[in-house]
Assembly symmetry: C2
Homo-oligomer: 376 residues x 2
């Protein structure tokens, strides 16, 4: 049953036996927990002693500096502080001779590298990184050893980075169960602007329209607007740091989105005057949207694949979903994904079960035979 642990045990040969994690927030503590699964000696530091204490209580490692300082530098220091402070921390640690190699986990990459060069850090020993894993939650209490499992982890070697530093960060990525993605710092920053930072600000802009919206409008809200605005619930302070650290690439994407939306607004105003021939720009935008959406990879990193959705009417009683999955299992049908859609105002909802197309009829029949409403 412990698939996580099995996976981590099979993680391959590892040359990392001691690590210092600087910054015991969600990401830093999760890295520490993943390393502890491999019995790596992990030291923890944070400018907030409470955060270190909490991470220690979760079994993430021991306090830095330890009572008996290690005889040699640790193998790797993982700098898990906000982007603007990465380079200063790197310089401080390198001056103290703390580690053989250094990496960071900041969600922007050009800024820390530029600052590190400006400060005169040893760039040969530093391989920058960024695990693409996060949560609406934050802090060490939200950390998990499996946070990075199967997730992309970007790493950004420069011409100065030594081969050993690269090997060491690759070892870290492997120990955390993530998938390494080699990319230049500039390409990385443009990529996360496109797939994370600008979508975040756009979701906030849609949600912001609802802050003063009439109550009747909120009462008509459906699943669409809930999905579009979900990430707008995240911590503004955390995101302010991320966005300011990747300011120009994010600005470029946001400007393009703003231009498209302003053009759509203008086309709609012309439509009100002149009729549907003015809609060409809007149609074009919708079609580009379908094309872009289709490029997002599906489950397991492969191309998006189409499952057939079997819908089942369910009540709000304990155990109803359990019985439903039980029937699926007995029928030998693997449910690839499940989505619950609740009927507002009623203790009823729809479960949408994604299955292989060839299994849909079998599952629907089995569920009906067990008394479920399966709309055809």
């Amino acid at each position: 049953m412990s698939a996580l642990r099995d996976h981590l045990r099979n993680g391959g040969p590892v040359s990392i036996s001691s690590v210092l994690v600087v910054g015991t927030g969600l990401i830093g503590t999760s890295v520490a927990l993943a390393l502890r699964e491999h019995d790596v000696t992990v030291y923890l530091a944070d400018r907030d002693p409470g955060a270190v204490r909490l991470a220690r209580e979760f079994g993430a490692g021991q306090e830095w500096p330890p009572a008996v300082p290690p005889a040699a530098p640790v193998d790797l220091a993982v700098i898990a502080v906000p982007p603007p402070f990465v380079a200063d921390e790197l310089l401080r640690l390198q001056r103290a001779g703390t580690a053989r190699f250094y990496t960071d986990v900041a969600s922007v990459k050009a800024l820390p590298l530029r600052r590190a060069a400006e400060l005169g850090c040893d760039l040969a020993g530093y391989a920058a990184g960024h695990p693409l894993a996060g949560s609406e939650r934050s802090g060490p209490a939200a950390a998990r050893a499996d946070l990075f499992l199967g997730r992309p982890w970007a790493y950004c070697p420069t011409e100065e980075t030594s081969a050993d530093a690269v090997e060491t960060v690759l070892g870290l990525i492997k120990l955390c169960g993530a998938e390494p993605v080699r990319v230049s710092a500039d390409d990385h920053d443009e990529a996360v602007a496109l797939i994370s930072h600008a979508p975040h600000v756009t979701a906030a802009a849609v949600a912001a329209r609802l802050a003063d919206a009439p109550g009747v409008a909120l009462g008509l809200a459906g699943q669409g607007v809930r999905d579009v605005t979900r990430i707008a619930a995240s911590d503004p302070d955390l995101w302010t740091g991320i966005l300011s650290g990747n300011a120009l690439p994010v600005a470029e994407v946001l400007q393009a989105v703003a231009d498209d939306l302003a053009a759509a607004a203008a086309a709609l105003r012309r439509t009100a005057d002149r009729g549907d021939e003015a809609m060409t720009d809007v149609v074009d935008l919708l079609k580009r949207g379908v094309a872009g959406r289709g490029r997002i990879p599906g489950k397991h990193g492969g191309p998006a694949r189409t499952y057939t959705v079997v819908q089942v009417v369910i009540g709000d009683r304990p155990g109803e979903l359990a019985r439903l999955f039980q029937v699926a299992e007995e029928t030998g049908v693997n449910i690839e994904d499940v989505r619950l859609e609740h009927a507002p105002g009623l203790p009823l909802g729809l479960a949408e079960l994604s299955v292989q197309p060839e299994s849909a009829a079998t599952l629907a029949e089995a569920l009906r035979a067990h008394g479920w409403d399966v709309p055809s």
Copy 2:
């Protein structure tokens, strides 16, 4: 088990015994199916004979005009055609004396009402409506009797609408199991611009940025951008009709979103020059986003309520979710919501189970006792 049928049976007194549905797409056919559950006599018409045949095969009713025409007008005609054609269809039906009362289900309301007045329709007999239910799918094959169950159904009487017409549309809404929301046509159109139409275009604009994005960017995509862009996969033709029918309200919201995003882009460009004090506008936008997101009602139409999320590492093997729900049931814990997050590239994922806060520890303990990895 048949919660849907129970609910529909308890739907209260109904004075609607015969209905003509004009337009057997997703919405029209779903209305017909819901009415058939109450043994209402349902007639079906569509300019596409194939759509009528399909709807009939699903048990949605009989062809219009029937071999033996009814002696009296039907109780209600439900006009389920695209917004630009509603008023013409209303005029045609009224001239033929087809029904005692008329309603429509178009997703915009001011346009059909204005056109109906211009054409000289009998406005006393027409109560406009709009069920807030839809799907990325379309056509009669996607129809379901329970499509409207617990969903809001806006109705928009004007000063001319007779009390009997209003009562009849309220009867229809009740038969379909939906929740009536009385709202003026203008307020309705502004509301759906805010909570449906503008979010749709914005999702398309974010997704459109990915159409030409480098492959490495797509490879770094996570759940956030997937959620933001989900509705961008919908049919552009269908949406072009909706948007052009609500052009000015949508244009107003899109312009406001575009202005916010352009201001954020400008602030980020200033930040790159001058540092974080230029971020004030961005911080403000993110905070307004949190406030707006918080106003979207939660499950069962009440205020959003906070469940505790229990995370479980799961494999991709048939039956694993079934066993998980089985354990929850045995423990007496009701799972309020479930979300599967797959680890790209690995046959592993996380199930996020939302439960009442007081049940979280019980469930986690039970799952661990059965050998699951439940990160703490």
